[in-house]
Symmetry: C2
Subunit: 211 residues, 2 copies
DNA sequence: ATCTCTATTTATGTATACACAAAGGCATGG
DNA sequence: CCATGCCTTTGTGTATACATAAATAGAGAT
């Protein structure tokens, strides 16, 4: 594996998981010493992160971990809505009903996954990710999938802005279940509408509970 | 200006304008000699182009100018539809009516711009670009604008796949005029529908005339 | 005390040298 | 004549040295 890939993967994960918080300075020398590689692969990694929107050039010199402001959360969700609603529509047209009815069943029971034992909600988020993967596969559109992938990077970061709220997560699971059901029923309009509803609820919840 | 930026701008323009055709090998040494800079800024430029989708890694070693296949044109237009329909909706909600009614007037008369004297159709495409800019400004959404910017890079390349057809261009101008009108009227549903119609016509024209 | 100009320092931008891996050619054996 | 293995060659991946621009700190003047 290339050193630049390792550096990228490390930094990517560190930013996504808030080990590197927004605004942190990403100095090339410091990173090269910390990760044990030279500046060249570090620069390559930073270029990738910049293209992804996880790092951004500071005024004048240097790079910082990109800021996440609540001010622009509505903009992020507008793009999300455009992409996910269309994706849900296309999945409803093209997907295998069995796959999504199976996901529907799992999501309908996902409330049980949200327990005190799993404070990171890993099981729930894994199930939500499974739905995303199934939608991507059903849509079978490389360009749309790429746009969604770029978007999800930011969504994962944003998740931490909201307080953990089991009740909201159980609602979200039900909303996901509704989306999966509409797709399995081959109903594009309902799939899109259910997605719109889910995103609106998510955004409002985030904005109301964010620190 | 940084050497890496110049190298990027040069390569970007060369690929967009088909001076570098899809599949062309992008060797670092060759490019560094041709552009008169060392390999380091060349690598930086290639990384940017890769992120943009204009260059892609070849199997094993090296990079090539990314391929454009008609097979995936429908996928590209699905993404385009998702983004532009939503953008048109939001512009209809938020835009200044005067700006778009002015664009409507210009586009309604754009047929006159398509003459024998301008084989590149620069005037027409400039007007279409003006509409894009106005929509972006009205939408005022950084994330959506960025996604559209990434997309348009590919659309410019794709344009050359179709034969030049003055009749189709005049139709396209009318379709653009319809979009501008709906936006100036503050009617999101019609703006979105007009965009859908326009994109469908564009795609079908491309697929029917492509070499 | 504050402002400004300068000098120093530090980090980035670029060039280049070296290491290594993959592609291609050549020779040898079947 | 074809296949296989080795060797050469070429180009990428990484490290590092050097150049340059920006930030900072300090000294001097107002």
């Amino acid at each position: 594996m290339r050193a630049s890939d390792r550096a990228y993967a490390t930094l990517h994960s560190d930013i996504i998981n808030w080990r590197l918080t927004p605004g942190t300075v990403l100095g090339e020398v410091e990173l090269s010493e910390r990760l044990g590689v030279s500046r060249t692969p570090i620069r390559e990694a930073l270029a990738k992160l910049t293209a992804e929107g996880l790092a951004e050039p500071q005024s004048g010199r240097g790079m910082v971990v990109s800021k996440i402001s609540l001010d622009h959360l509505d903009e992020l969700f507008e793009l999300r809505s455009a992409l996910e609603c269309r994706a849900a529509e296309l999945a409803a047209k093209r997907g295998e009903p069995e796959i999504f009815s199976a996901l529907h069943r799992q999501l309908a029971n996902a409330g049980e996954l949200i327990t005190e034992e799993d404070p990171t909600r890993a099981d729930y988020y894994q199930l939500a990710a499974d739905l995303d993967v199934a939608v991507d596969a059903a849509v079978a559109n490389h360009y749309l999938a790429q746009a969604l992938k770029n978007l999800r990077v930011h969504l994962v970061r944003v998740r931490r802005l909201g307080k953990d709220n089991p009740a909201r997560l159980r609602d979200a699971a039900r909303e996901h279940a509704a989306i999966a059901l509409a797709i399995s029923n081959g109903n594009p309009a309902v799939a899109s509408a259910a997605t719109t509803v889910h995103l609106d609820n998510s955004l409002r919840h985030l904005l109301s509970t964010a620190a």
